[in-house]
């Protein structure tokens, strides 16, 4: 019984790994293996974007701070990365951060979206965008592509 369980677990783990490496390339599709730990394969930084955005904000004092400082839910050790990834993959997230911050502080903010072109050994600011956060929501501010 124990050996059967071990064998099934080992084979399922391998199937989950191959599902995301070989199967997708060979058959163009994945098989749904049902279990949550087999859903996404084993990926760590295998493909990395060459264009990335960094998010910051300025309040009444005009000084720039990382946008992560406006997010109430802590993320010990990875706060900046979490905000950058969430905002990159879900653009509506910026409006959510604005809504929460404005409601909590009753202040207006400027959000800055700085987009960088990343090349081996260096990153260059490619464009910069300003969004204004107010009780009316998040709107294009003094936008200006460089």
């Amino acid at each position: 019984m124990r050996r059967a369980f071990v064998a099934v677990w080992v084979v399922l783990g391998l199937a989950g790994a191959l599902d995301h490496t070989i199967a997708e390339r060979a058959f163009g599709a994945r098989i749904d293996l049902m279990l949550p730990h087999l859903k996404y394969g084993y990926v760590m930084f295998n493909e990395n974007p060459r264009t990335v955005s960094v998010f910051s904000y300025a309040g009444a004092d005009g000084a720039r701070h990382d946008l992560a400082d406006l997010v109430a839910t802590p993320a010990p050790g990875y706060a900046h990365a979490r905000v950058a990834i969430d905002a990159s993959f879900m653009p509506a997230y910026l409006a959510e951060v604005c809504l929460r911050a404005e409601r909590a502080t009753h202040q207006e903010y400027d959000f800055f979206v700085d987009t960088y072109q990343v090349d081996p050994g260096s990153s260059t600011l490619a464009s910069s965008k300003v969004l204004h956060c107010s009780p009316r929501g998040l709107r294009d501010g003094a936008a200006g592509d460089r």
């Binding site: 279990l35 990395n48 839910t73 993320a75 050790g77 990875y78 050994g121």
Partner: protein, 298 residues
């Protein structure tokens, strides 16, 4: 010929082993979970108030039916989940902790994955599921073990079933190895991919000291980081299985994960799961030697 090979393979999952590596892993794993999930569960309204922005990464059914769950019940589930994780840390009824904690964490990750970086959780589900099925992990460094020792006065070194530890080690090393395979398939040997990762601007994935250090963006350092990553990911999961190469592999493995967490903004759960999971490769003799060295006065 085949039978002894099969027996040798299954021996890693049968019998008992020194309980300390499993206990250290249990504590680290649940501390990682606490650091990862407790902020979302304590700042509850940020992620789980009606109308909150949500993302669907796990159970579609739970995501779709989120609005049907009364907020009072969700608060209760959050409290139970936190209690279960604390039980996991201190080592009380580890199987119950895994069942209650696992169900709660999976529900909350399914309701809203926005604050819970998805790829950090893949191994978490596997280990929680193993803990639900196999139990164990609280024979040492736990309240349960303390109470047992107090009641029985047993002085024998604690032992733990190999099943849970063996399968956790398999799961962790499988993920590390296939992360390496994915990198080879993505073309890492030809692209010096770490020269991109380490060149990200301040505020995106890299820690501030890396973004501000021109040394870390140099050709030599980035090539070393790229090849070291592939060497560790493809080599150490195999080298850790053999006694002759285990210690060297473990040093490289630990250096690799320490390097990741020092250079990149990754969730602590990622580090705790992988770095401490690697310690399960140590056999009884190696653990005894390590304990003796730690006990020896400097």
């Amino acid at each position: 010929m085949v039978r002894p090979a099969i027996d040798r393979f299954f021996r890693a999952f049968e019998g008992t082993r020194n309980a300390y590596p499993v206990a250290v892993f249990r504590i680290a794993f649940y501390v990682g979970i606490a650091l990862h999930f407790f902020p979302s569960l304590l700042w509850f309204d940020e992620g789980y108030r009606p109308g909150a922005l949500r993302s669907d990464e796990w159970s579609e059914w739970l995501f779709g039916h989120f609005w049907r769950f009364p907020q009072r019940d969700l608060h209760l589930l959050a409290v139970l989940t936190i209690v279960a994780c604390v039980m996991g840390i201190v080592g009380v009824l580890p199987r119950v902790a895994a069942i209650v904690g696992g169900i709660g964490l999976y529900c909350f990750a399914s309701f809203n994955a926005l604050h819970l970086q998805t790829l950090a959780l893949v191994e978490t589900w596997a280990i929680l599921l193993l803990s639900m099925i196999c139990g164990g992990g609280a024979e040492a460094l736990s309240v349960q073990a303390l109470v047992r020792r107090w009641k029985t006065g047993a002085a024998a070194p604690p032992r733990e079933s190999r099943l849970f530890a063996g399968l956790v080690l398999y799961q962790v090393l499988l993920a590390v190895f296939f992360a390496g395979v994915e990198k080879v398939l993505a073309g890492w040997p030809f692209t010096n991919e770490m020269s991109i990762v380490l060149s990200y601007p301040r505020g995106f994935l890299v820690r501030d000291w890396v973004a501000g250090s021109s040394f870390m963006h140099g050709w030599l350092v980035t090539h070393f980081a790229t090849w070291f990553t592939m060497l560790v990911e493809l080599g150490t999961p195999i080298a850790l299985l053999f006694k002759r190469t285990r210690l060297v592999a473990l040093v490289l493995y630990q250096a690799f994960f320490l390097g990741i967490v020092a250079m990149l903004e990754v969730p602590p759960l990622f580090y705790f799961t992988f770095a401490f999971g690697g310690l399960l490769a140590l056999d009884d003799e190696e653990v005894d030697r390590l304990c003796a060295r730690l006990r020896r006065p400097s």
